[in-house]
Symmetry: D2
Subunit: 155 residues, 4 copies
């Protein structure tokens, strides 16, 4: 099933200050990363006990990363009254979460195939987020909005 992310961006009834293709790729990467991390946490829980004891930190990082990626995908899916500071901060958190979780899963890549796949998904999501970040800078072309909430567009 093909993602409808790009279709939704194309039918957005107002301007979007970011490249829509890049945005769609980042949103899709975040959705996939969230699901992969949720699944990896659960796969870790199903490992035999002698493995499980080494995976508790990995499970925690998976759970954090899954929730942070889901939230970041939502934030990036909203363009009405776009606020560069808020978006920037949440994307930075997602970069850190995918890095932390990618590192954790990478330690187990040779033992657990689900950790290898999850580590690679985290790495590619981190890369996509890093590509987006400069375009979100309040001083960059991505946004001219000051830190304080700007007046409503409708005014």
């Amino acid at each position: 099933m093909a993602s409808t992310t790009m279709q939704m961006l194309e039918t957005y009834p107002a301007e979007i200050e970011l490249d829509r293709r890049m945005l769609a790729e980042v949103i899709d990467a975040l959705k996939d990363c969230a699901q992969t991390c949720t699944a990896c946490a659960d796969a870790c829980l199903s490992e035999p006990v002698e493995e499980l004891q080494n995976l508790t930190r990995c499970i925690r990082d998976n759970l954090d990363c899954a929730e942070i990626c889901t939230t970041t995908a939502s934030v990036l899916s909203r363009h009405t009254g776009y606020d560069a500071n808020l978006t920037h901060a949440q994307v930075q958190s997602a970069i850190q979460a995918t890095k932390t979780c990618g590192d954790s899963c990478d330690e187990h890549r040779d033992t657990h195939e689900h950790c290898r796949i999850c580590a690679e998904t985290c790495r590619s999501t981190e890369q996509a987020l890093n590509g987006l970040l400069p375009h979100l800078e309040p001083s960059g072309k991505g946004a001219q909005r000051p830190g304080r909430a700007a007046p409503q567009q409708g005014r």
Copy 2:
């Protein structure tokens, strides 16, 4: 970017009581539907005010459907200590949410392209969920588990 949902299911280290291909399709449909509903709510908010006043119920249904689909995708991504009753109840809620939101968006499909896409995404997700539901019945082949939590597997 291809979804890694199926790869994660293939590397799950224990048994899964459901057909993995069907499960992957439902999870991917739910992820896509959640994003589409989040985007549709925001697109509605960007419509001119004479449209906006007719879209408040649609926005609310979009927000509910987005959250319910995300949660249902997570529940379906966890197989350790699988509980058919819990999964069944959450899938039923997702069927209702995609139906309600599909109906709401469908009323605006001729006026708003984002509502048309969202209505169709809700419909196909509802259909995928309805295909999965019989396999989740506590009395069906999908689960022999009683309503009360079964003892831990490790015992």
Copy 3:
């Protein structure tokens, strides 16, 4: 810090078809249950390995219950274009999730204080949800709305 749930319900600018006091209590119970389940899953992960192996199902139920309670609290916090069918289905899922998780945690109440607290929180949340459920029946006083999305109020 006192919850502002009741204050927000009192300042809602339109009618709410449910008793606001009962609604506030259920929403607050769900929020508390979600946090307790998230914390219990993590506390389980910190137990010594000989305990951990018996807690994997409990962790999974905690994670499901946390997400379902959070989503249900959001659904119950939205009244614009209230849809009884959707709300009813999600509340039923939360009743099942708090029952399943309450059962799972209850098995460990003598060994783990965090499981005892979590079991009791799940039980009282389940009870609050069961008290609300009859008021959400499409045929009850809580809603006269049919299954299909009603036309927009603004029309």
Copy 4:
């Protein structure tokens, strides 16, 4: 209903590198702020159309802030394999989200009581988060952990 956040922290079976009382207060503030923002977005949607057109940015900020606060509360509820960098980044995002949303709601405080309550909830949550932030610094007393995920505790 009293929150069980502090009880859960008291029964956590391992060390927590942060002051438990401060942590409980921040988690409870975040939960309350998330619910308030969800409710404020919905209250805005119920305003008459001449008001609604000025509230679209406020609704968007409410939705972002609600999701970010929920995710931050979850991250702060997990202590197993604590990672200061990840926690720090997500708390910074929550500080920005409560600031942005507080600013947006503050613009409508004289017209809409729900916006006034929400603005004040955002401000007090932002303050609580700012009080926690220094304790999360990787170089501070809150954490000596490097940016890269530390080896598993079980090793």
